[in-house]
């Protein structure tokens, strides 16, 4: 890290990213009662430590202090001096949130409220670090297990090994060899036979047997019975039994470099430490602005490509004799290659913005747990498809609608545990959050096994609110009724809890989704449950566009292609041949009437608006009828059978289901300028 001359933007992005990584690792710690693994604790500790250093470098005193207190508490956790109770987990979760908040506020300077909270939280963390309970240092590190095996043990297995050692029992390894016909039945038989005297903690792959009809395993066994008793229980299965010893004292060369003095063995085995470092080095942080800049560069290159295409077309036109046609063919081929490269570059850039949904899913897990606790409901949230990737902006925009749907499910969908029992349902409700790719879309489903949508109530509320006349509502059923839930102001909750807010209904979810070109659908069975299905396109780039009207049609011009906007006075444009020019601050500007270019009926208006579009050095004035403002939009390619449409880059959804065509600035400039008068006529 270089000195504090780096701009604030870098600090904030680095700090926020570290805080997010911290949050992720913290989420893994929350195993609900079991001892957290050393690997996870180490990861969390490392992140807190980085954050502290970063804050110190930028003079962020409050952040530094908070990170330091967290670091202390985490250190004690991984040394086994403090247990991960709920109070500790909650405090750490709050700390991460506050750290993130402080990071964002860094540039402007944090307000009193934030500083106050930080102070209180530091005191709390220090108190928790004192901890009433003292645990013995982790005995697992003294067990002489090959590091490679150590690396593949699950956390539960490590826990069982630890427990075995704490009970002062011994760990044995049993190499067994079985025939292929029945090995999968002999293993459970052996486990059962051992049950009275020993626990099979892990079954690991054994070394390959010489015999192709046999298979070998290594079993790790924990037992306080003597060797004879063990051999007796193992008897029918032939193999080698050996003790896995524990070292008496920690060897000096195992000390963690840079650890505090006198710290007991807390080093993670070599294999584990390398892993995370390696993966960290393989990722590179790229700001979204930089990516957008690269996208603009692609746009400029496209302009050049379009120009080359015109040259080639010109050379290939029948009757042209000045240039050999072979030249034209060569040029066209080069242009096509360049176009292909540009496509690849563009998709590469779009992909760089893709992040996995697990980012949002993990945050939602914690939220659901808290919401369930507050609402007194017992439920499990299963997630699937966290590895599905979407554009970063979309993933961020999704967290609100998904949170809303999940909260609805927790508050109103899933019944109270006693009610569920009475209904013959399992006491614990099931919530599923699943994502899967589906062609060029992603489908995200939020499903619960609760009470389902009460059709009668929906009908009633619809009539009460005047959304439907009574008889029409009576005739409606199923899906049509459920779609009513998406109309504004609709909320059937009898008691609106503090969590779900007032009347913020599904219509907001739908509107938010529409801005992402997504759709939402609902399926529900009374008493069975409800499933919301969100369908989103995979690759989008959100951009800002200038909306214009020409001959009664509406188009969007990407704002990054708009140089300025002029208003044509009463002075008519100059004609040179069959082209038009206007004068802008003494300089000539070629003018193209969009209506004429698109062969639309032209309306003669006294005043016309000219949108000056440009890419690289080229400028072109585009005459339109009206300017309707700017909008954020998501562009979809036309694609498929349609192929490239000259002048149109794609289609955009302007939110309230208004679909407009998005102009291809490069193509229009190229086409427009090819009609431009030769340079000689311009310079006058």
């Amino acid at each position: 890290m270089s000195g504090p001359n780096k701009p604030w933007g870098d600090f904030v992005s680095e700090a926020v990213e570290t805080a997010e990584a911290l949050e992720r690792e913290l989420g893994r710690l929350d195993t609900g009662g079991e001892e957290p693994s050393p690997a996870a604790l180490n990861a969390v500790f490392r992140h807190a430590h980085s954050l502290k250093g970063l804050a110190a470098l930028y003079g962020q005193g409050a952040m530094e202090g908070l990170a330091h207190a967290a670091e202390d508490l985490l250190d004690r956790l991984r040394l086994g001096r403090v247990r991960l109770r709920e109070a500790v987990a909650d405090a750490l979760a709050e700390t991460v949130e506050l750290l993130r908040g402080l990071a964002h506020a860094a540039e402007a300077g944090p307000d009193e409220a934030l500083l106050g909270r930080a102070g209180v939280l530091v005191a709390r963390l220090e108190q928790l670090a004192q901890g009433p309970e003292r645990l013995a240092p982790d005995p697992l590190h003294r067990l002489e297990l090959a590091p490679a095996f150590r690396a593949v043990l699950t956390e539960y297995e490590e826990h069982r090994l630890r427990e075995t050692l704490r009970r002062r029992a011994l760990v044995w390894s049993f190499s067994v060899r079985w025939r292929l016909e029945d090995f999968d039945l002999r293993l459970p038989a052996l486990v059962e036979r051992l049950a009275p005297v020993a626990e099979v903690i892990a079954t690991l792959p054994g070394s390959a047997p010489g015999d192709p009809e046999a298979i070998c395993f290594e079993l790790l066994i924990g037992s306080s019975a003597g060797e004879d008793r063990l051999l007796e229980a193992l008897a029918p299965d032939a193999g080698e039994l050996a003790l896995v010893p524990s070292r008496k004292r920690r060897r000096p060369d195992e000390a963690r470099p840079g650890a505090g003095p006198g710290a007991p063995a807390d080093r993670a085995p070599a294999g584990e430490v390398e892993g995370p470092l390696r993966s960290a080095a393989q990722t590179v942080r790229v700001g979204i602005e930089r990516l957008d800049g690269l996208m603009n560069a692609v746009g400029e290159l496209r302009l050049i490509a379009a120009g080359i295409q015109r040259l080639a077309d010109g050379a290939l036109a029948p009757g042209v004799t000045q240039l050999p046609r072979a030249f034209g063919a060569d040029l066209l081929r080069e242009q096509r290659q360049m176009s292909r490269r540009l496509d690849a570059l563009q998709s590469g850039l779009l992909e760089a913005r893709m992040v996995p949904l697990s980012q949002v899913f993990e945050r939602l897990q914690r939220l659901v747990r808290r919401a369930a606790r507050d609402a007194g409901k017992e439920l499990d949230l299963f997630t699937r498809g966290g590895e599905v990737e979407l554009d970063k902006l979309i993933v961020e925009e999704l967290s609100d609608p998904l949170m809303h749907l999940l909260r609805n499910a927790v508050d109103h969908g899933i019944e109270a545990p006693d009610d569920r029992e009475r209904l013959g349902k399992p006491r614990r409700g099931t919530l599923t959050l699943a994502a899967r790719p589906d062609g060029s879309h992603v489908v995200i489903e939020v499903r619960d096994d609760g009470r389902g949508i009460d059709s009668a109530r929906v009908r009633q509320v619809a009539v009460e609110r005047g959304l439907l006349p009574g008889d029409e509502a009576a005739g409606m059923s199923g899906r049509a009724l459920h779609r009513l839930l998406f109309t504004p102001g609709f909320s059937t909750a009898r008691s609106i809890s503090a969590l779900s807010g007032r009347g913020v209904g599904l219509d907001v979810v739908q509107t938010n989704l529409a801005r992402l070109s997504g759709v939402i659908d609902v399926e529900s069975g009374s008493g069975v449950g409800t499933a919301f299905r969100l369908t989103l396109p995979l690759t989008l780039a959100m951009m800002r566009g200038l909306i214009v009207r020409v001959s009664g049609r509406t188009y969007a011009i990407p704002l990054n292609g708009v140089v300025e906007i002029l208003s044509l006075g009463s002075e008519p444009p100059r004609r040179v041949g069959d082209r038009e020019l206007i004068s802008v601050r003494g300089n000539p500007l070629p003018l193209v009437r969009l209506a004429r270019l698109f062969r639309l009926p032209e309306a003669e208006l006294s005043r016309r608006n000219v949108v000056v579009i440009g890419l690289a050095q080229e400028r072109l004035g585009l005459a339109v009828d009206e300017l309707l403002g700017q909008a954020d939009m998501v562009t979809k390619r036309l694609g498929g059978r349609l192929g490239p449409v000259p002048g149109i880059a794609g289609v955009a959804d302007l939110g309230n289901r208004r679909t407009v065509l998005v102009l291809d600035v490069a193509a229009i400039i190229s086409e427009g300028l090819s009609q431009a008068p030769p340079r000689a006529a311009l310079s006058e």
Binding site: V152, L180, E351
Partner: protein, 153 residues
């Protein structure tokens, strides 16, 4: 085409057929269905049973019990149909019981030995909690069932 890093863990969905336990990539499993009525299909040979009508779509049903070694299912297991993705299509596979989701480290997997003593189309073994799970390549398994393959099946 991005390089896929070697994933260190694999999420599996386990089920049983006969006396053995199998596992498939959890992403393959779309739904678990209770056994339902299957419309027989003209010209269909076992293990293809026919078609299942599922919310407007017709899904082929394959009885996995005819593709894998026989045996008595464990007591208490209930027959189910797994709605699985094969490429972009779905197939319903009839099994004797379902387990659950299991996460294993790929380093813990053992390559499946070859030979006739191991069930067909098994690529690896995972041992968890004293139970051996055979990781099943269902695409390969069904390919072998096809009459063109000419395999003993």
């Amino acid at each position: 085409m991005a390089l896929e890093p070697e994933a260190e863990t694999l999420d599996l969905f386990t089920f049983s057929v006969g006396a053995h336990r199998y596992a498939v990539d959890v992403r393959r499993v779309d739904e678990v269905l209770a056994p339902a009525e299957v419309t027989p299909l003209a010209g269909a040979a076992p293990p293809l049973e026919g078609l299942l009508s599922l919310r407007g779509a017709e899904v082929p049903v394959v009885d996995l019990r005819l593709c894998l070694p026989a045996g008595t299912p464990a007591p208490g297991s209930e027959a189910r149909m797994l709605l699985c993705w094969l490429g972009k299509r779905r197939v319903a596979l009839r099994v004797d019981g379902v387990g659950g989701v299991l996460r294993v480290a790929t380093a813990r997997l053992q390559a499946a030995p070859g030979g006739p003593l191991v069930p067909p189309a098994v690529v690896a073994l995972a041992v968890e909690g004293g139970t051996v799970h055979f990781l099943l390549d269902v695409v390969e398994l069904l390919r072998r069932q096809s009459p063109e393959a000419g395999a003993p099946g």
